[in-house]
Symmetry: D3
Subunit: 140 residues, 6 copies
């Protein structure tokens, strides 16, 4: 096994607690209510989002690692945790013109990682909104 | 086993998504920040609360049940779900004068069940705020 | 992010409790026993099946959603839950000529969704039979 | 820590898959339907039961153990697994005159352990019927 | 609810990865092998231990908390994490004369917390060694 | 559904407890410390590895199965469990010249299955090192 470079995947989970309200200002009250139901209540509600980041790359024969977890952790802490954890998503610049659904949160986190994390290839971002629902975005 | 009545426990889980902000108006900004850290951010954040209700009682020899789950479900849906699910806890009457910590949410849910649910003896209410934290209240 | 349409995946979990017996009438008793072991006992046994449905599609820029969960829930409740939940699988028309293994249950559920659910593209159906086994079918 | 004997608890989980039908022959069809709902369907349904056995006792200063897990495993395999796993509970002698609810299964397993397992003190038996429901019996 | 003080419980989970070998120098090779089986292999093996600490106390009416999680986290990080995480338990002073079973690890962690953590009443320490086994110690 | 052959996937989980030390003899002490942090401590530490094996193939119309789980279990027990469970990975021949990271353990297990298990097509091996990290290898 020593000389070849094997391509593997690594997935790491991060927890974010945040609140949101699903509401689109361009729609009527009735349309918002029909579309989002109780997720449209004006005062918001919240979730523990489990964000799973998957990266891929060759396993380095010297270190036996595809990417140092401490690099990924440092990036996610600074760029994702600082932005989204313990926040009201509706008030963040990412969601100024975008409804903060978990689909859109997933895309927003993917794009931050895609632009800034270079130690391995980003494969996808998956978010569990509750233990019964999850969303995934893998780029275009 | 037919004639005796065996006392057993039943625990049932319910999911509630809600937002809250930990803040006490009687304290200074600095005190609030010291006490609650990022949970004090003015715009709130949220959780999926897993609420586990435990009741006890003799197993009815005829039905083999200690309490009909559909009775418990109906009570919790009407009295707990309607009040707390998809809400901003800070805006509810239960938390008008009380910081909506998970400790206090646990006590509030326990007291609603204690007063209104009579089909079995209420033992305790346990809430998992995240997969790493939980709180429990079993009455006085 | 406003104008583009991002393709995402949504997975949603549903619980079904059912019983089955693994047995093929065309095989001898010995062959059935060799093939299915204790799953062949004549009186059946049961499982909590966790059925995870994955659909994909563009995220609607207006709603921020790829598909309304309430549409998926309504379809699954009516077409999957009503048919399979709290049933003995061996007695259902789907398994009149088919052994009700979890592989075949997975295919049967996939085909019902494929024919009838049109609000998003069906990607796959995954069933956890126990916490140690799962099966997945993604069409031909 | 060497001379004292510390009393600790050990809990071990076992998986059982079985089917059952909730039905009491002494009640009318309507009464059975009212009481058990879809759990009364004549052809049964099934569950993966997670059976958690808790025992207690002093930690042996020489072995550092309160009870050898292999003794507990052997007893449970022979006395619980053989009787209940991959069975239709309604057809077992334990449930000849008893509705096979999870409450009654819990009591039946507790009593088998109480009578036959002597390597540690039996504290309780807890059964998760689904990830949302559990039952517990701790003796009289 | 404002004036009374409600006693609640808080449980918090911490992960520790460590290796150990179950072996007692006072016993013969055969006795060690009989007692510990494959856990006696001379080169050790390891676990992710999930350590759950439960404390209790009155809920402070001003803060709504029974104990600040950041105090508990700081204590556990300094006194438990530093000592046991990513270690070979057999080489630690706590286990110089004691077999590093999970029972004994549980007692050792309980005693460190009991002596040093004063912000709430220590109720118990529970350790999941694997998802099928757990141990608990609640003091004498 | 009777005549066609549907291709499905089956995933099965196995638990392995082992210890390892991340260390590369070709690097300096400082380089090892920088690269592996506390995973480099000289005495090792350990994990419960959850190894998930995914195979695929047509569902046999007669048996309704894609592969008999008992064949897969027997192979994994003999070839994977015997080699890796309750071992110190650093001392095994597989890791004589290779750092026993979870990436490399994943590749080693994949290659053993690929060479020796012929009852279905091997798709991938995924290992959860902790509940927050996992690694996956699907061949070249």
């Amino acid at each position: 096994m020593s000389a070849k470079r094997y391509k593997a995947h690594l997935s790491r989970r991060y927890m974010i607690s945040a609140s949101h309200r699903l509401h689109n200002d361009d729609l009527s009250e009735l349309q918002n209510d029909t579309l989002y139901g109780k997720c449209n209540n004006p005062f918001g509600h919240g979730h523990n989002y489990m964000v799973e980041v998957t990266v891929s790359g060759p396993v380095n024969p010297e270190s036996g690692m595809l990417c140092n977890l401490s690099d990924l952790d440092a990036f996610v802490r600074a760029e994702i945790g600082e932005r989204f954890d313990h926040q009201n998503l509706n008030l963040l610049p990412q969601f100024a013109k975008l409804v903060p659904t978990t689909e859109n949160l997933c895309i927003a986190i993917y794009e931050i990682l895609k632009r800034g994390f270079n130690s391995a290839h980003l494969e996808k971002v998956r978010i569990e909104e509750t233990m019964m629902n999850s969303f995934e975005y893998a780029g275009e």
